[in-house]
């Protein structure tokens, strides 16, 4: 690790710390329905939307009605995205004629299972891409189906977090807010303004925005290169800000148009963490003790730093096998050293590992390097980040409500240890809360472990419908533990709604499309519904006054307890699986064997 490298990580984190309070305060005001400086411009628009869609923003909903609204918009979103994809051949803005008889030979067919997988993927804020966008999706599909979902699914996630925050902040009421108003305000006042600003920045840095078809270039070496074009910049900001991560191009944020410079790289990472971090401040402000918010923020930060430094250290250290071959792998003034396989030279090791950690801390899933090419320990970090349900700032909303569910478990055990029935920010944590938190954590581990198990052993006929390559393990690029990691990574990414791929796994077969769709669906909704149920249950409770007998949840001790809970539950659940993947691979690498 180099001084400049460490400095870059610290500077990035400093920006996040600096933005957390102002943006958190702004978000708090927006969701409380208070007037902000943006209301002068957007207020009339907000009222117009309410009038057109018949929303009464002050009509409060119980947690069941709130969930009902959420489910109804989800059903609509799913159908809309599915149909646009299936019908894209008949629709305009399709310069390459995908899904038509005139489609180019390299195009991927829009099969029902792929459309299903993609619809679920964008509905659940996962943006897992079983397809290569540049060879599959028309511009219309990208703009109206996928980009719109990037906004909606992000707003839904934030709305759930806001509802849960209200559950803690309110007392002795039955309602947790109005879903429609929350989603509208989120998109209008938070997502859109930030996206507009950052899009201009990306265009300035070199991103493109056009409706042209691909252009052909002749390189200096005389080779012919096809360069994709399209309406990219407009989709770029929300892909990051909404922690969606679905790339416009297959190369995602490694593509020069999609992430032109180190500067744009930093902004992309800032956008990924921005809302997740700010929500912690909003939480503290809502429960009238900002220290509570900062405590959650601190726990997330510690986990972030451990992850990023392990990953950075492992990659900078490189592969001892290559070093034994006589290849210099230490850092020099002109050479990055370490493991540069699968990394962009314009980002180098530190900006790649930082991006990999950030994108899996949050449920973004955009990538600027190939995680598949990381050293075993370097690859373990993103994998473990996802398996702990991405609570390190996390997906927009999802990170906070995920962390609060862990806080419920932590407080339940810790609270007992101080001799009281547990309470968190003034609310008693009882049967219902524990049950719901356990359901959420159980659901994701069920999907990850079960589907990985099935895909490690399932046998299909070669050339058959379900999995044309034959056995499900035949879809991996590598064999041995690394192949296992590829499968484990895919389902971890799906259940955690991350969407990044270890790559190396050909997932566009009906088997993987379907199981991953279920994986993503369960990982999203069996987390959201319990979180909302907790919100409803908490809102009904009385506020317990804080005394010296109360477990303090705004100090170092609680931070340690929370980190311990997240790591311990994650480690205990996934240690056996990880030991057959990255861990054994690491030991074997040390003894000179790679896969």
């Amino acid at each position: 690790m180099t001084f400049v490298g460490i400095l870059q990580i610290l500077v990035f984190f400093g920006i996040i710390v600096g933005l957390t309070k102002p943006v958190g305060t702004y978000m708090y005001r927006v969701f409380e329905g208070e007037r902000t400086f943006m209301h002068r411009v957007l207020g009339p628009l907000e009222r117009l939307i309410y009038r057109i869609s018949g929303i009464h923003p002050d009509e409060e909903q119980s947690w069941l009605r709130y969930s009902g609204s959420l489910i109804s918009i989800s059903i609509f979103s799913f159908l809309f995205v599915y149909l646009i994809q299936r019908l894209q051949g008949y629709l305009p803005l399709n310069p390459l004629h995908f899904s038509t008889p005139h489609a180019p030979s390299f195009a991927t067919a829009m099969t029902p299972d792929l459309a299903f997988n993609t619809a679920i993927s964008f509905l659940t804020n996962t943006n897992w891409q079983s397809y290569s966008p540049d060879t599959t999706m028309s511009y219309l599909t990208q703009m109206t189906a996928l980009a719109v979902q990037n906004f909606v699914s992000a707003a839904v996630g934030i709305a759930v977090a806001v509802a849960l925050i209200r559950g803690f902040a309110r007392h002795t009421v039955k309602t947790i807010g109005n879903f429609w108003a929350d989603v509208t305000r989120c998109i209008l006042y938070i997502l859109l303004p930030i996206c507009v600003l950052s899009t201009l920045f990306f265009v300035w840095q070199g991103s493109i925005q056009n409706f042209n078809g691909p252009v052909t270039a002749h390189t200096l070496e005389g080779a012919r290169q096809v360069i994709e074009q399209g309406p990219l910049a407009s989709q770029l900001s929300i892909k990051m800000l909404g922690t969606n991560g679905g790339g416009f191009f297959n190369a995602n944020s490694a593509h020069p148009y999609e992430n032109p410079t180190p500067l744009s790289n930093v902004l992309q990472m800032v956008l990924i963490f921005l809302l997740g971090a700010s929500l912690t401040y909003m939480f503290g402000k809502a429960v009238k003790n900002t220290k509570q918010g900062w405590a959650v923020f601190t726990a997330m930060s510690v986990l972030f730093f451990v992850g990023v430094f392990v990953c950075y250290w492992a990659e900078q250290r490189g592969n001892p096998i290559i070093e034994h071959m006589g290849v210099a792998s230490s850092y020099t003034g002109t050479q990055p050293g370490g493991n540069m396989e699968g990394k962009e030279v314009r980002f180098g090791i530190v900006q790649s590992t930082l991006f990999a950690t950030v994108t899996t801390d949050a449920s973004c899933g955009a990538v600027n390097s190939m995680h598949d090419s990381y050293t075993p320990l370097g690859g373990l970090v993103p994998l473990f980040n996802m398996q702990t349900d991405e609570v390190i700032f996390g997906g927009v909303g999802a990170g906070l409500y995920g962390m609060l569910l862990y806080a419920i478990i932590a407080v339940f055990i810790g609270g007992l240890m101080v001799g009281r029935t547990p309470e968190y920010v003034g609310k008693k944590i009882e049967q219902k809360e524990v049950k719901m938190a356990i359901i959420a954590i159980l659901a994701t581990s069920l999907c990850i472990l079960l589907f990985t198990a099935l895909s490690s052993v399932s046998q299909f006929k070669s050339g058959g419908y379900w999995n044309p390559p034959g056995p499900t393990t035949a879809n991996t690029n590598n064999n041995g533990p690394h192949g296992f990691s590829e499968i484990l990574y895919a389902y971890s990414s799906g259940a955690a709604n991350n969407g990044s791929a270890f790559a190396g796994l050909n997932a566009n077969t009906p088997w993987y499309n379907l199981t991953l769709a279920i994986d993503m669906f369960v990982g999203r909704f069996l987390f959201i519904i319990p979180a909302l149920a907790i919100a409803g249950s908490l809102a009904k409770k009385k506020m317990v006054p804080v005394t010296s007998g109360t477990l303090p949840t705004d100090g170092t001790l609680f931070v340690i307890l929370l980190i311990g809970t997240v790591v311990l539950i994650g480690a205990l659940t996934y240690f056996p699986a990880l030991s057959l993947g990255p861990i054994v691979e690491h030991f074997q690498m040390l003894s000179g064997k790679v896969f």
Binding site: F412, R420, L449, F484
Partner: protein, 713 residues
């Protein structure tokens, strides 16, 4: 408020009396009913019970232990299969299966141990419930001897010295001393009399003197003794809300681990085909891993902790109607304490003689003593005693003199004596001033000053006059019990506010509240005020505990989250509260709070310990399980366990033995000190969290050494 009956009146010589040793030395003291933790009789009973509890219908109620039992049954089936097929692993499988059965037995034993103590107690109680006879008074006043079990609510019986009271009831006529040791364990007899707050009698207790007539208030099977037997026996035990929540948590964890282990064979199969060699982990090893991972420690001890908590309350001679009430005690934010008898000794006592100008203190003391000789109230006696102590004035035999005693009347508000021609009077300052004025005497101007000074400080001034001359004032004072301030301070550290309830005027109340160090007080409190206060506190989210004994306390007792009724109190009070203090000691509430907290802490600490243990077990079993496929994984064998079999066996044995090791802790409860939550958490996290991570490493390593020495694996 009423004190414990038959308490000798407090004498001034007890001014410096501290709270009795067993109350003040530790917040949780050994009660009168304490039995040694491992009484041989209890051990025997518990061992037998732990085998009976192997019944799957019983075990299924505890999901964690049920999983272990199913695992034990499965491995046993494999042992039988091995026996027929001469499998090579039979010796290993037998040991695994034995230790899994032990794990279930140990968990059963923990529960049986906790229950056995209550059951032994219930047996003792049942013996006293032998079929007594009752002398039933018929409407026509004839007396009929019937069996006690034939009595119904509303029947009237009489009891004489030597008779057992046949059922719960209310004294409607007479007064008697009653031996209630059956219930309270206290051998000193108590007084029961018709009317007032001492009228309730309990079936099974014995009349020692005199004769009382009782109206029966409960049907057979519903008596206090019946309820008590059911309670101590645990027959009516229901899981408390917190216990259910914890059960959900550990059942959830069990499911997660079940998943983690059940998905291992496919992973192993993939790995084998990827590597092209190695062997699948055996079923016995997989079951071992599962049993080691699921929280068997807390799963096995959870119900024992709950029962033992109830039992600890019982050992303090408090009958908790539900475990929920004990748990709620741990959460109490506000403690309502009656001033009289709890914070202060029962009665006001004379502490000082303050003469007016021109009178000596000894002169005042002499007159005060003379005027009080016939005054049998505690206040009166305290005047006599103070004069004796301070001025060495001996109580004189009044019969030697021509004395005419004037008793206290509410009209004159004074009492006194006419002796040897002197008219000695003592009473309220205004009353004495008026008495003197009527005789033509003057009131010294210092009198009001002294009197007001005493009132302001919470004392009661009692003026003394000799004829038309005012001598001075006796300062009567409520004496705050020694050690009370310290206890209230430790309560505050635990985050509990203490509120003093008193019938005194606000001025007096404030002074005593200040002296005792309570956080708040409720002066001139009526039962309605108490109820309102509790409701107000609860509306602000606080949990309230109180004690009470009178019928008029019943609504407040019912409203409070923890209502402790005194056993001396009325039936209405006992039924309204959720605990009955058999000692009728109002400060007991403080111990109950500590027990409640200890109960919750024990649960949390052992859960943490149980989960933290898993890390070491992974390091034992994972390399043993997968090294045949990936030899590189042997690097995870950081304990250097000598063979895969012994690694698995050591982990399973450790997992089983830790239950036995922790039984005393579960029954006694973790060490509890009244400190802030932050410090308590730090301490418990270090001991049970960090300790839980570290402890199994040397433990498993040692077992592995032993197994190697004895060639068991």
């Amino acid at each position: 408020m009423i004190n414990a009956p038959f308490n000798a009146p407090i004498r001034p010589s007890e001014h410096k009396t501290e709270i009795p040793e067993h109350e003040s030395s530790a917040l949780i003291s050994k009660g009168v009913r304490a039995r040694p933790l491992f009484d041989p009789e209890i051990l025997k009973r518990a061992t037998k019970e732990s085998f009976l509890k192997l019944n799957p219908w019983h075990v299924v109620k505890n999901p964690v232990i049920f999983v272990v039992e199913v695992g034990a049954a499965l491995t046993t089936a494999f042992v039988i299969k091995d026996a027929f097929t001469k499998g090579p692993d039979i010796f290993f499988d037998i040991q695994i299966s034995l230790w899994l059965w032990f794990t279930v037995l140990f968990a059963n034993f923990a529960e049986a141990m906790a229950e056995a103590r209550g059951k032994a107690q219930a047996d003792t109680l049942r013996k006293t419930k032998s079929d007594a006879t009752a002398h039933k008074v018929l409407p026509d006043k004839r007396v009929e001897v019937v069996s006690a079990s034939a009595l119904r609510t509303g029947d009237v019986v009489f009891c004489e010295a030597g008779m057992l009271i046949p059922g719960d009831g209310e004294v409607i006529e007479g007064i008697a001393t009653v031996d209630e040791s059956v219930i309270t364990g206290e051998s000193a007899p108590v007084i029961r009399e018709a009317g007032g707050d001492r009228s309730a009698v309990t079936g099974g207790t014995k009349v020692l003197s005199d004769r009382i007539t009782i109206r029966i208030t409960s049907n057979p099977g519903e008596t206090f003794l019946d309820r008590m037997i059911a309670l101590v026996e645990g027959a009516v035990r229901q899981k408390t809300p917190n216990e259910i929540a914890l059960n959900i948590l550990i059942a959830g964890l069990t499911l997660i681990f079940l998943l983690a282990v059940a998905t291992l064979p496919p992973y192993a199969k993939y790995s084998i085909s990827a590597v092209g060699g190695g062997s699948m982990p055996s079923v016995a090893v997989l079951i071992s891993l599962l049993v080691c991972l699921i929280p068997t420690t807390i799963g096995g001890l959870l119900s024992a902790i709950g029962i033992a908590g109830m039992d600890r309350v019982m050992q303090h001679n408090v009958l908790a109607m539900s475990g929920k009430a004990v748990e709620a005690a741990g959460d109490i934010n506000t403690l309502l304490l009656d001033k009289t008898g709890t914070i202060t000794f029962g009665n006001r006592q004379a502490v000082e003689f303050i003469p007016v100008e021109g009178v000596s203190a000894a002169e005042l003391a002499d007159a005060a003593q003379l005027s009080s000789l016939a005054d049998e109230t505690p206040e009166g006696r305290s005047v006599v005693v103070l004069a004796k102590e301070k001025y060495n004035l001996r109580g004189r035999e009044v019969s030697e003199h021509e004395a005419d005693f004037i008793p206290f009347s509410a009209y004159t508000r004074m009492s006194g004596v006419d002796i040897d021609g002197r008219n000695l009077r003592k009473g309220a300052t205004e009353a004495i001033a008026q008495f003197v004025a009527e005789l033509g005497g003057g009131v010294p101007e210092s009198l009001t000053r002294i009197s007001d000074g005493i009132s302001r400080n919470g004392g009661t001034p009692l003026a003394v006059a000799d004829g038309k001359k005012i001598l001075g004032i006796i300062h009567l004072k409520d004496i705050v019990k020694g050690g009370m301030k310290e206890r209230l301070t430790s309560l505050r550290a635990m985050g509990i506010r203490s509120v003093m309830i008193t019938g005194d005027n606000p001025l007096t109340a404030a002074a005593i509240a200040h002296e005792a160090g309570v956080d708040d007080f409720l002066a001139q409190a009526t039962p309605k005020d108490k109820l309102e206060y509790i409701k107000k506190e609860q509306a602000e989210g606080r949990l309230v505990a109180m004690t009470g004994d009178g019928t008029n306390d019943a609504p407040a007792l019912a409203q409070a989250d923890v209502g402790v009724a005194m056993n001396t109190g009325t039936m209405a009070a006992k039924e309204a509260g959720n605990m009955v203090d058999l000692d009728s000691n109002p400060t007991k509430l403080i111990e109950i709070v500590a027990i409640g907290k200890q109960l919750l802490m024990t649960r949390g600490s052992l859960t943490t310990f149980s989960i933290a243990n898993d890390i070491a077990k992974y390091f034992a079993i994972i390399p043993a399980m997968f090294a045949p496929i990936y030899p590189a994984l042997n690097r995870l064998n950081i304990m250097g366990l000598h063979s895969p079999e012994s690694a698995v066996l050591s982990a399973v044995i450790f997992n089983a033995l830790i239950i036995i090791v922790l039984i005393p802790l579960a029954l006694r409860g973790v060490n509890y000190k009244p400190v802030t939550a932050g410090r308590m958490l730090t301490r418990n996290l270090l001991i049970y969290g960090l300790g839980g991570i570290i402890a199994p490493f040397p433990g498993i390593w040692m077992i592995d050494r032993l197994l190697a020495v004895f060639h068991l694996a």
